[in-house]
């Protein structure tokens, strides 16, 4: 039994940084980009995804010895979909405005490759506690990229941070303008591309060739 803290720390670091879902495993950006126009939506989406990843890891791992291997994908999808329904209902009850803005993208957590990928690769082969930590780690890794993209898009696109204007007025007086392209779809593609470039250029990160 691995009960020491360093073991969990290892799983966390692996998920958050070394094998970061978006940049390294090239997974899960499907739903990541459409909600990154503003920090508030990106943050709520990140929390929702991290919780779904953690609990799906916990539940699937607890069930792993009873799931017949030829129907395992369906069982995994059912567990994930049920968790997403609960998340969606909670958001509708307590954060109605944000759930309206997230529109269909909470539902799309079901087909998010990170969740199903971790269920397949990790939760089916490891104990529940490890899988829970692994879900949190991968969720946090995803959140990091999502929030970074949202920060840049909201700052450059509308000069705001969580809805508050942060670009000082004298910059606008000097001729600075918000970059309209950043709040549109292409801005998200450019920022992701540049972030991946930045991450690949940092030391200690191996990067894949095309």
């Amino acid at each position: 039994m691995h009960t020491d803290l360093s073991h969990y720390k290892e799983i966390l670091i692996k998920g958050v940084w070394r094998e970061n879902p978006v940049a390294y495993q090239v997974l899960g950006i499907c739903s990541a980009l459409a909600v990154t126009v503003k920090m508030s939506t990106a943050l709520v989406m990140s929390i929702a995804l991290t919780l779904v990843a953690a609990f799906s890891g916990l539940i699937i791992s607890s069930l792993r010895n009873w799931i017949p291997s030829n129907i395992r994908i369906i069982v995994e999808l059912t567990v994930i979909a049920s968790l997403v329904i609960i998340t969606d209902q909670i958001l509708k009850a307590f954060l109605y405005d944000i759930s309206k803005q997230l529109s269909i993208f909470v539902g799309l957590i079901i087909t998010n490759c990170i969740i199903l990928g971790r269920a397949e690769a990790f939760a089916m082969a490891n104990n529940p506690a490890d899988s829970f930590v692994d879900g949190i780690a991968n969720g946090l890794g995803y959140s990091m990229i999502l929030v970074a993209v949202a920060f840049l898009r909201e700052l450059l696109g509308s000069g705001q941070f969580f809805g508050f204007s942060v670009i000082p007025q004298f910059l606008y007086d000097m001729g600075f303008q918000d970059m309209g392209i950043m709040v549109l779809a292409p801005g998200a593609f450019f920022i992701i591309g540049l972030l991946v470039w930045l991450k690949n250029s940092l030391p200690g990160v191996s990067h894949e060739k095309k």
């Binding site: 090239v26 079901i110 087909t111 593609f189 991946v196 060739k209």
Partner: protein, 202 residues
């Protein structure tokens, strides 16, 4: 008729499910290495979307929507929260059925499309289209047109991406940008060109 045409053009270009809503990017990146496979997957997506979108419309409006069960004596029933799990099950079942039918009756078509069909079941573009169809209150006919239009737009994007990747294969890209980052920047430029269609009204 004009409305339907405009909905189709809108879902192919301006509201392109891939370049404007970021749906189906996983397979967009993985399968755009050659034009042949991109075309194959594109046709498979068009087909599956045109079938799943109306089927999910029937299920949603016949069983799940608020008040839809009044024929069975439950006028107060609102099962719309079940739409996620229902849609994903319907999509997986349809994809499986389509795969078996194609395998039985057209081995040739199966050889070219078969490998992509399992991949499509978890493609977020498929689930996303069904969810958009509910959210935008499309009618039954609109749901068919919307499904076909979204599929066509997705295919147009992936085939163009495969063609561009073929052209830039020997381009001298900076080391860290090579691969995924470069593809995202190309996708950004493509998204900009697709946005230019937004001035068109029919």
């Amino acid at each position: 008729m004009g409305d339907l045409l405009s909905l189709f053009v809108n879902s192919v270009f301006i509201g392109n499910i891939l370049l404007a809503y970021f749906l189906g990017i996983c397979s967009f990146i993985a399968v755009s290495k050659t034009i042949e496979t991109a075309t194959g997957l594109g046709f498979a997506v068009i087909f599956v979307l045109t079938v799943t979108s109306p089927v999910n419309w029937l299920i949603y409006h016949g069983l799940l929507a608020p008040g839809a069960l009044s024929w069975a004596g439950f006028p107060e029933m609102d099962l719309s929260f079940l739409k996620f799990i229902t849609f994903i099950a319907v999509i997986a079942a349809i994809v499986q059925a389509v795969e078996m039918v194609i395998d039985r009756y057209s081995p040739l078509l199966y050889a070219s499309l078969g490998v992509f069909l399992p991949l499509i079941a978890v493609n977020c573009a498929i689930l996303g289209t069904s969810l958009f169809m509910v959210e935008r209150n499309h009618t039954f006919v609109e749901s068919v047109v919307f499904g076909a239009g979204s599929g066509t737009g997705w295919m147009l994007a992936i085939v163009s991406m495969a063609a561009i990747r073929k052209k830039v294969r020997y381009a001298d890209v900076p080391a860290g940008l090579d691969g995924f980052g470069f593809i995202m920047i190309i996708a950004g430029l493509m998204a900009m060109t697709f946005m230019m269609f937004s001035g068109i009204t029919l």
